[in-house]
Symmetry: C2
Subunit: 428 residues, 2 copies
């Protein structure tokens, strides 16, 4: 690989999600050479991905070119590549563009959808863990309405206009709310030839409440808001199988052409590390985010789990955890360069929030839990501030203000048509 060997220890970082991005930002350039790999040339602001899927924002508002973030950083090299394998005995990683040696390695490879072995669901459902998946989902939603217009089969039309979201976490709740707003404000105007009241939005949750990682007050509020907006919320319902038309569960069967899967995530560790993993494929790390048994190999973000008495399953797979771990490990590297000892990581829970719709959000702070209009305003403000740069903030602000004032969404475009997965054999 065309990367110069210089007189500094080399840190190889795999993945530029929240953990990798903040780690690299924090590492001091005069102490280390940093080589960063990601399969994309952009960082994704995942908390707003559901707005891309529901035609509210365009990709450029929520993703950010990695080269641009770091174009003033010295001793830094980004390569768009997939990392296939780690050889920790020889301190080497093998990538799609060749191999490279390291002094320190950080696995920040994140998480992907977990289908818990249900192959049909994996085959026919729409996941939403990447930008391309979110764009595909948007196209499928809009294509379904175009198809509903010209089918004369009533059962088919109803299945095209029914959307089932499995998973009642933040992504599922936020997407269900966004679809309800499309149904209420946008689609009746766009499709006067269709009876949009027949559009069904089902949110299916295995547990007994929505947003299980938040307070029960937030769960109750989110459920109340969603029901008010016309979303059918089903608790204690578990998906079993799906053939592209019928979703069978432990309860009734749902007929839908669009199953969105947000019900599970799992770590995606790079192969080659001799370590222990949780059931959700997360690699076990110690309090310094070192992978157990290694002193120079670290892991941060969703793919890492530190099991302790307080966190028997590891910390939750959240952006805020990943950000804090990235910054913390960066500081530890900087301490290491000065021959100071490493400091253990401690997660500071600054609160969690989720938005459901216009003037409807839920916020959990340490001492205060509330929902409604102010929560929604706070959600918007904080998410605007968290965006990587001023240009994105400006563009997102214009889009949000526009939607709020005119009850409109700008970007309901089918840019790439997605073939029907149950009929792919006909399309080739």
């Amino acid at each position: 690989m065309n990367i110069p060997h210089i007189d500094l220890p080399r840190i190889v970082v795999i993945g530029c999600g929240f953990a990798g991005l903040n780690l690299v930002k924090t590492i001091r350039s005069k102490d280390y050479q940093v080589v960063l790999f990601d399969k994309n040339n952009y960082h994704t602001f995942q908390p707003l991905m559901y707005q891309v899927a529901s035609a509210g924002l365009e990709p450029d508002s929520i993703v950010y070119p990695i080269r641009k973030v770091f174009n003033r950083k010295k001793n830094f090299h980004f390569r768009m590549a997939t990392v296939h394998q780690i050889d920790s005995d020889n301190q080497l990683v093998y990538t799609s563009i060749g191999s490279i040696d390291y002094d320190f390695l950080v696995m920040a490879t994140g998480a992907d959808s977990n289908f818990f072995g249900m192959e049909n669901i994996q085959k026919y459902s729409m996941p939403m863990k990447s930008l391309v998946e979110a764009l595909n989902l948007r196209s499928v939603i809009l294509q379904n309405f175009e198809k509903a217009l010209h089918t004369s089969d009533i059962t088919e039309r109803q299945a095209l206009m029914s959307f089932v979201i499995v998973g009642g976490g933040a992504t599922g709740v936020e997407l269900a709310g966004a679809l309800a707003e499309l149904k209420r404000y946008i689609l009746p105007k766009d499709y006067p030839d269709l009876d949009i009241r027949k559009m069904q939005i089902h949110l299916v949750q295995g547990g007994d409440r929505l947003l299980p990682s938040m307070s029960s007050k937030a769960s109750d509020n989110a459920e109340k808001f969603l029901r008010k907006m016309g979303v059918n919320v089903w608790l204690k319902v578990r998906a079993n199988d799906y053939d592209g038309h019928a979703l069978s569960t432990n309860d009734e069967t749902y007929y839908t052409k669009t199953l969105v899967w947000t019900a599970g995530v799992k770590g995606v560790p790079t192969p080659g590390i001799k370590a222990n993993y949780t059931k959700a494929c997360r690699v076990l790390v110690n309090e310094y985010n070192q992978i157990e048994g290694y002193s120079t190999v670290f892991s941060v973000g969703d793919v890492a789990a530190h099991i302790s008495e307080e966190t028997p399953y590891g910390l939750p797979m959240l952006a805020s955890v990943a950000v804090q771990q990235g910054v913390h490990l960066g500081k530890n590297f900087n301490r290491l360069a000065k021959e100071k000892e490493l400091l253990p990581f401690e997660y500071k829970d600054k609160g969690t929030m989720a938005t459901v719709g216009r003037n409807l959000a839920v916020v959990d702070l340490k001492s205060l839990k509330f929902g409604g209009g102010f929560a929604w305003f706070l959600w918007m403000l904080i998410h605007l501030m968290l965006l990587v740069d001023f240009r994105s903030r400006l563009v997102v602000f214009v889009n949000w203000a526009w939607s709020y004032i005119f009850y409109d969404k700008g970007t309901r475009l089918i840019v790439r048509k997605v073939p029907d997965k149950t009929q792919t054999s006909n399309n080739h």
Copy 2:
């Protein structure tokens, strides 16, 4: 097809480019039922497409959902479908979603790239006549730089960093200028590991001047501006063949992985009409835009050509012609409903313009031809005003202001990777 028969004559319009859009806007709803077909659910503002290809704008800024444009229009039905065939004997059109009868038919199907039978060029070059093609071109440009980073073959690296644009019309000139700005302001910051001075931009034109449809002053200015910006302009050079690596011409051979083809367009008429066509596949129409031999079948925009003494090849294939023809035909339909006679179409040339780069554009008005900073300001102002809605204007304005002030472009993302066309067999 699920479209009601009502007590009004039905006009079927094929295509929602500038001609179709303005036609439908102009037709009075109380006089006609209008059924519009397009293969996409959006209208594309083609004059700014090169900015999507060169990472300056996102798709939502230059395309507009068709349903949204017309969501208050009565007796109007849009269907996203491909029209396969016209049966003019029975007044029927056959589409991908079924057939429909018409009282009046308007073919506004526009134009596509013309490769003049050169199959290899068609196979390996990048055209830029649709939004998806523009997005693909953007991905390929950025992917090439990522690949250039990790090849150790100098010839290969040079071919990856060389861009040849064939065709010196407005699209070719504007794209060459945008690439030159990427080279100057963006890429050296993004790719500090590459010697960006080695990036070559070639603009190859068959005729003896650029912008042949504009004044010779505009041609001279555009050439001067491009050379100043570091673009290699080659006049009187005609492309013969291309294998994905080498472009052979009547002059020298150019080695490039990226050949952009903007050198020819041809009409894409719907099959089934018994009419005469020009060499460029445009259907011959009379001064009322009726297809010769028909009284109820019309054609407007790029696909139509009215041959007269002043226009032996038909009017140029320009947005402004299409807009005026659409509006004019709409007015003629409205006259027809009142049993007034049709009026002949006359093109009013309000001037033409093209932009080359920062503060560099050329403008031809009837009595005044000029180039430089004021032309560039005028170009921006007019294009902002021509955009379909206020939201797009705001978003485009934010992006342009940002680029202007910070010498930056926001959206250099590789969202969908495009496989190397010369190596597709390896990728499956």
